[in-house]
């Protein structure tokens, strides 16, 4: 086929192209958050002492850490979905600062003898199961939106889709989990989110190549 014929054929499909990729990803993020929240409420629910926990520094810094990570993940995913893929890595600075603040607070307010116990916590097994389960549908939603994307690296875009899905799930899981210590969060949440990132990388490499 001559290239001119290909061009003519493509131009015959020039009807309005629909929402931008960015628009699709933002819609996907809203859908992912809605699904993860609904699943959390229908299964494990929020912690019974949510109202009083809201006022504590530890609970606040945990949610803030996970929320800023989710926003950072979305910003990275948006960039990774495009062929130029210039990742705005500076979005990770704010979550890192919040994490350091949390660790500083923990070290200042807790005796060193309980660090280990606070790291292990009471909910590690549930955390490891709940985050991937809550993140599965969000990951599928992100991967579907990314099919219109043109990622420089399909694997990287998939991994970031898993990272975004995992952090969104972790945020809503955080409303249930009573282990607020940053030692607990950095250990168990990280494993759950990392599992989703790995799953996203594997799926992305297969589904998002173009």
């Amino acid at each position: 086929m001559k290239t001119e014929d290909l061009i003519a054929g493509l131009a015959r499909d020039a009807k309005a192209a629909g929402p931008s990729l960015h628009g699709r990803l933002m819609i996907a993020a809203a859908a992912a958050a809605t699904v993860a929240f609904a699943l959390m409420m229908l299964s494990i629910g929020t912690r019974p002492d949510l109202a009083s926990a809201m006022g504590t520094v530890l609970f606040g810094q945990k949610l803030l850490l996970v929320a800023t990570l989710a926003v950072a993940a979305l910003a990275l995913l948006r960039a990774a979905a495009r062929p130029e893929a210039d990742l705005p890595k500076s979005v990770l600075v704010l979550p890192a600062l919040i994490f350091l603040f949390g660790v500083g607070h923990e070290v200042a307010t807790q005796p060193a003898a309980v660090f280990g116990a606070r790291l292990v916590g009471n909910n590690s097994a549930l955390c490891l199961v709940a985050i991937p389960l809550l993140a599965t549908a969000p990951l599928a939603i992100f991967l579907a939106a990314l099919r219109r994307g043109a990622p420089q690296s399909a694997m990287q875009a998939g991994a970031l889709a898993g990272f975004a899905a995992g952090t969104i799930a972790a945020f809503f899981y955080g409303l249930h989990c009573a282990d607020d210590s940053p030692f607990f969060v950095v250990t168990w949440y990280t494993i759950g989110v990392a599992l989703m990132s790995a799953a996203g990388a594997l799926l992305g490499r297969r589904m998002l190549a173009w």
Binding site: T3, D13, A14, A150, W210
Partner: protein, 182 residues
């Protein structure tokens, strides 16, 4: 250079809004630019420039199916270059090249447009024969018979939406075959 980019961006915006004439003009005008980049990239990697047209056609299909990933407020050329670079690296890897592509040098190249014959080594329409029947019929109607999506829908007794879905899937399948074959 800058004026051309602005003109192309304007045509692309019109194309995204459904202006087929502007879109056809854009694809037509940027093809020599893509061809020049593909040829220079291939020769830098020590490959035959005869394969350039396969890459150009693969890139044109990618521009079409991935066009919503361009941000309309940004210049078009960097996005085009990124798509071409992706397809070129992909093609070189698939052909078992050493994988050595000097990307930075390539990204700075400003090749002259070429007037070589523009026939790919693989024929997209022939490749379409291995697609599922519905996709094949839509591709044939639009690329051989010259119908637009509405005429194709009428000819094949499909809804226009179904035609566009089949076309999109067919183009994705063709791109995959084009990559596998080169």
């Amino acid at each position: 250079m800058r004026d051309r980019d602005e003109e192309w961006s304007a045509w692309m915006r019109a194309g995204l809004a459904g202006d087929g004439a502007a879109y056809a003009r854009l694809l037509h005008e940027l093809t020599p630019f893509l061809r020049g980049l593909a040829r220079s990239g291939l020769s830098r990697a020590g490959r035959s420039v005869a394969e350039a047209e396969d890459i150009v056609q693969d890139v044109l299909i990618a521009i079409h199916t991935k066009r919503t990933s361009w941000i309309p407020s940004q210049p078009l050329v960097p996005w085009l270059r990124a798509i071409l670079k992706h397809k070129l690296i992909d093609a070189l890897r698939r052909r078992g090249s050493s994988g050595h592509v000097d990307i930075d040098e390539f990204a700075e190249a400003i090749p002259a447009p070429s007037n070589e014959p523009e026939i790919a080594t693989r024929d997209v329409v022939k490749l379409a024969d291995s697609l599922p029947a519905g996709q094949k019929a839509v591709i044939r109607s639009m690329f051989v018979d010259g119908n637009d999506t509405r005429e194709t829908a009428a000819a094949l007794s499909m809804s226009e939406g179904a035609v566009r879905v089949a076309l999109h899937r067919g183009l994705a399948g063709l791109a995959k075959m084009l990559r596998g074959s080169v």
